[in-house]
């Protein structure tokens, strides 16, 4: 519609340094992460980091929805879990090759989210969050209770072929290599969402988030753009779910449980959802706290909760937002 007519000058008029700085920073973080398996021998540490990277992808999806739509999803684990179950069920019944299953594992939740989004993005605030929670919990119950379909609470082990996408399955299931894959995919997701956020579509959705009524009075329908953002954030969550099954070779209803949705949201808030990369940072912080606190107490959720409270009170824009402010102060520019 209008995106094709974006004048090149509009992009060029933005402060140029910031864009290059972001990409350079992202490349640097990607490189540092990639070096990690070489520097750190500990399989335990890399296991932790792989889980963190997979959850970071889920959190990035949750955070992007907050950033662009201003909506808080309590049910994004549903898309993560659907992706995982699509792979498990299609491979169990051998209805299609694993590669196709992987693609459908992402497409199906995306399409479902778009359709659901057309209805629920009109609902604002806590009611939206509750609806996402209700939908996700309904799916969770379905997979839990319908034992013939998905083996209920026992979960399903997935019989992958020896190679998927031409890659040896072992590559996906060993932390050394899988961490690298997940980390690079996380970086690609962040880059993609960052580009989307800077596009005219990104600006439009921010405008709708800011002032839905005025967006209509400057000539934009507001439901479809928000449903599209919801679908994109679901696609990102589904990608996380796909990596999860590739890595674990196993899926249980827990992948759809509200506690996973809640953790992803907590990660996003800790890191700062106003930044595309904030939730990923939050995920890494979350896993380190969980691991460190888990060493000496079973009550690690209480520690996370305390951190969450401290962050929301002391850093309303999250740890990422605070880092950006510090960097701005050190750089001595961008006072506004």
């Amino acid at each position: 519609m209008t995106s094709a007519s974006v004048p090149a000058a509009a992009a060029a008029r933005r402060p140029a340094g910031r864009g290059y700085g972001f990409v350079a920073g992202l490349v640097a973080v990607a490189a540092i992460g990639s070096a990690l398996p070489l520097l750190v021998g500990s399989a335990l540490f890399l296991t932790l980091m792989t889980q963190a990277a997979i959850n970071a992808i889920l959190a990035t999806g949750v955070g992007f929805l907050v950033r662009q739509n201003g909506s808080v999803s309590f049910g994004h684990a549903a898309f993560f879990g659907i992706a995982a179950y699509v792979v498990a069920l299609t491979l169990k019944h051998a209805v299609m090759p694993a590669e196709l299953a992987a693609i459908i594992a992402i497409l199906l939740p995306t399409v479902l989210a778009f359709a659901l989004g057309l209805v629920i993005v009109r609902i604002v605030g806590v009611a939206f969050s509750m609806l996402t929670l209700a939908v996700a919990q309904a799916l969770y119950e379905l997979l839990l209770k319908w034992r013939e379909l998905a083996n209920g609470d026992d979960g399903m082990a997935i019989a992958f072929p020896a190679r998927v996408f031409g890659v040896d399955m072992a590559t996906f299931q060993q932390p050394h290599s899988m961490f690298l894959i997940c980390w690079l995919i996380l970086m690609a997701v962040i880059l993609g969402l960052w580009l989307l956020a800077r596009s005219r579509f990104g600006t439009l959705t921010l405008a709708i988030r800011e002032n839905e009524e005025r967006a209509r009075f400057i000539g934009y329908t507001t439901v479809v753009p928000r449903a599209l953002i919801y679908a994109v954030s679901a696609a990102v969550a589904a990608l996380g779910g796909l990596l999860f099954v590739l890595y674990n070779g196993f899926v249980s209803p827990g992948t759809l449980h509200w506690s996973l949705s809640g953790e992803a949201l907590i990660m996003a808030i800790i890191g700062g959802p106003r930044l595309v990369w904030g939730p990923a940072l939050g995920a890494v912080i979350f896993f380190f706290i969980k691991n460190a606190a888990g060493d000496f107490t079973d009550h690690w959720p209480a520690v996370i909760g305390t951190v969450l409270i401290l962050v929301t009170v002391l850093m309303p824009r999250g740890v990422g937002g605070m880092l950006v402010r510090l960097a701005g102060r050190v750089g001595g520019r961008r006072s506004s």
Binding site: S5, N211, Y220
Partner: protein, 238 residues
């Protein structure tokens, strides 16, 4: 151009809130290129009329035509895309977006992007990279106007664009408005409490009172209608 019809026309417009008719069978028609003033005391129904014409009102009856075409069933989005734009009595902008960013976004739904021109004319060019929330109230009022004016709509509904501005700011804004409307051939329906603004730029004035049209005429005629003087102008006119 010999105007064969009306740029914007409302026929028998009624809008009720419970038993109370905020608009009671109002008919109004503005020919192309005119700047029409719409005045009336607080609660007269001026904003309600703007809402009905622009597609903001939920339930109402009557007919709205834009350039002779019935747009009664169009949504606000469709009306804007058909060339009917509006500003708001209470500043209605995108606080967290850049000023240039939001004006360009508004321009993108029009056939021609004249955002640079609008920013220059309204004195917003120097503020293009600033966040809307960070600029002065006067700048925000002009941004609200810019969001309506960009893309050269055929008809512009302005609900107190100068509300809260100083006397000199109001008159400057009125001058810019008259200039742009004339140059671009935009038809304007202007709600304004400041009679200096109204009488300086409007060729005709419609007076609304308790949801009905009380009078309609040139500024000079309006000044002489006794009910207008008592109902609205009061002691400000000798």
């Amino acid at each position: 151009m010999i105007a064969p019809g009306w740029a914007i026309e409302g026929v028998g417009l009624t809008r009720r809130f419970g038993g109370f008719a905020a608009l009671d069978g109002v008919s109004i028609a503005v020919p192309p290129g005119e700047i029409r003033g719409l005045i009336g005391p607080n609660g007269a129904g001026k904003s309600t009329l703007m809402d009905v014409l622009s597609g903001r009102a939920q339930s109402w009856s009557g007919t709205v035509r834009l350039g002779g075409v019935d747009i009664s069933r169009l949504t606000a989005v469709e009306r804007r895309r058909a060339g009917l734009a509006r500003s708001f009595q209470r500043t209605n902008i995108f606080p967290d977006l850049g000023i240039g960013e939001q004006i360009r976004l508004a321009a993108a739904t029009a056939e021609r992007d004249n955002s640079e021109e609008v920013m220059a004319e309204l004195g917003l060019a120097a503020l293009a990279d600033r966040r809307a929330a960070d600029v002065s109230y006067g700048d925000q009022r002009r941004l609200d106007l810019a969001l309506a004016l960009v893309g050269r709509p055929r008809v512009l509904l302005l609900d107190e664009p100068a509300a809260g501005l100083s006397m000199s700011e109001s008159l400057t804004l009125a001058g810019i408005l008259r200039d742009l409307a004339g140059r671009w051939g935009v038809t304007v329906l202007l709600v304004e409490h400041d009679m200096d603004v109204i009488f300086s730029i409007c060729s005709r004035v419609t007076v609304l009172h308790l949801g009905k049209i009380l009078a309609d005429g040139t500024p000079d005629e309006i000044r002489r209608v006794p009910e207008v003087v008592t109902a609205y102008l009061g002691s400000t006119v000798e």
